[in-house]
Subunit: 196 residues, 4 copies
DNA sequence: GATGAATGAGCCTTCATTCAT
DNA sequence: AATGAATGAAGGCTCATTCAT
């Protein structure tokens, strides 16, 4: 039961970089081929050995959760200063954009929930949205009747629109149209230059 | 996990019955375990040999499409008489209920779309909804500003809500809440006895 | 996720033959390379697909238990007629010979016991030996003071001798020497022609 | 499952200590989980880096041989003064006890022999036993007809008994019973306090 | 036609071994 | 000299698909 002769080994130095590469690869491949891509493909795409993938992320779910984590972290940065001008609007757009970027998200959420006994996959959006929403409502930018929970429900609805979109190129405009149906204040005209 | 245990080799006789059994089994297992259940499990659940499964449905997708077909057929029956009282309302509810019954639908649609070059998975809802909607609008039951495409978009939104619901028991009420957000005329109070 | 093109498929007819081929291959490879041989090697040696191996024997242990079973079955045949002349002596020799044939037996037993919660790997030797031993004692061939349990202990001792033998060619004579040490009535002179 | 948690990188200082820690860990894990425990587990249990394990012991076998070595060294200390009262008896008991302590010994021996062309795994028991045995025989404590080789054969028999024992708690008494069968002079009554 | 065993590609995972730090 | 991450071969297992009966 002997083993092998390897080629390159960039040593433990690559540890951090590998983790990042794996996350990026996973994000890319999940988006492109769905949540069920072979993990071996993720390792290959990341330019990393199978073993390293497993060291960093013992299971597919850990990869998914780490991506969630990243996304949440970005949103939390955006939500950190609720009084900045356009804080809510930027935050909300970013949430929708993240969803557009990862069509596989639904599958991930579904699977994550199927597999994790209970909490674990906490929805952190409520806390993230709370302050920015209040400020935006005080400024009259968002109708008072919209609660944080309404927004989260709206977000889930957008998931549905995105994931059922035949042509990826249309996903964004469909999502905006859907948002407008829910409440015009939650949508925006996407005139090519990402204007609000 | 077998639910429907058929007896033994019933010979060529059971030809038609097998098809039904397979569809039922697939519907059940897709709902319970997701679109990716082993096809062998479907055959087993149907009490049918592996080979028969393949004769009737050469691939997973064919199974999914046949289920779509069934659903559409049911809806078309409902839409056949647009002037029957409550025609639109019943049709619309059934659409939502079908969606609730098959949480795996999203995955199926997604996968079906990913794999089929183009058409093939035609969305037949537009024709189905057209007449009943017009009649309902004429009767003042549904606002004029809602187009067939709006309804289809709403349907896709409901997909999202259902599939992201943590607790299956809450799926229905979340869906209704979401519909109400889109347009109150599309929702209904679900007072336990499925009343409209 | 399509699959493959196979070469030969002798159909379900081969079912029984495959099982036998797998058992034979396992017996051979366990003996030659120890209990930890790759199961894939067993399948290859048996000229059978990986999947068939798993259908017949879901785990390594099932293979081991089936081999035990075979051995026991042979011994039970031998023990069936305790009054046949030389019944005990033949039975006892066969037990020792089986042990010589499968040096990997110790590992198997050890592993089987490590993995199976409790009983399951029943030692069937007591019942097998009981009647033949009594008859042999009545005939004055075996000393009265040897109980069935003593024989089983002796058998375990022989295991130890066989498995620790450096040169396989010496295993048999070492075992006989060991038996003679325990009790001369349990050994025999092995003058090339398997005489008792 | 870590038992011995060492602190952190203690630098080149701990050179010698590491070797000891590795041996202890290996002895423990071999006994607990069998000879095939992952070497990484040994390193972890020893609180030592993977690399250090390899520096000290290039392969699994080296670890096993070092353990043998330790055992032999202890026995040689005991055999150093054959005329001390009870020298043989203590030596013999210790041999049996060592065997009881490492049930994995059989596997190790078997594997060691399988892998090493020839000598290398020298059996040092003959020299160790020689003088103490002669003295004990002269004193009438051990029958003259027992040769050193008989003792070694008896030892191998005890291996078999120990390794096939289902319940580890019974291993010792089974071994003693077996020894008594071989020759009462080789056994002893183990009345709880390890008395001879 | 139905049946169910057979097949084997491919994925997940483990672990011996190397090597930058 | 120690550390621990990286590497990749290899083995276990699953499952889509075929095919003799």
């Amino acid at each position: 039961m002997p083993t092998t002769q390897r080629a390159t080994n960039r040593g433990p130095a690559a540890a951090g970089a590998n983790r990042r590469a794996l996350l990026d690869a996973a994000r890319r491949l999940f988006a492109e081929h769905g949540y069920e891509v072979p993990l071996s493909a993720v390792a290959r795409e990341a330019g990393v050995g199978q073993g390293s993938l497993y060291r960093h992320f013992p299971g597919r779910l850990d990869l998914a959760l780490a991506i969630f984590e990243d996304n949440y972290a970005e949103l939390e940065r955006l939500a950190a200063d609720p009084h900045a001008p356009g804080a809510f609007s930027q935050l909300w757009r970013r949430i929708i954009d993240q969803t557009l970027e990862s069509r596989a998200f639904v599958e991930m959420v579904v699977e994550a929930r199927r597999q994790l006994p209970d909490v674990k996959v906490v929805n952190r959006l409520p806390e993230i949205l709370e302050d920015p929403l209040r400020v935006a409502q005080a400024a009259g930018l968002i109708p008072r009747e919209l609660s944080v929970h309404d927004l989260i429900l709206a977000h889930r609805m957008i998931y549905g629109v995105i994931v059922t979109e035949t042509d990826p190129a249309l996903a964004r405009s469909s999502a905006l149209r859907a948002l407008a149906m829910v409440n015009p204040a939650l949508s925006w005209s996407d005139d090519e230059r990402d204007t609000a």
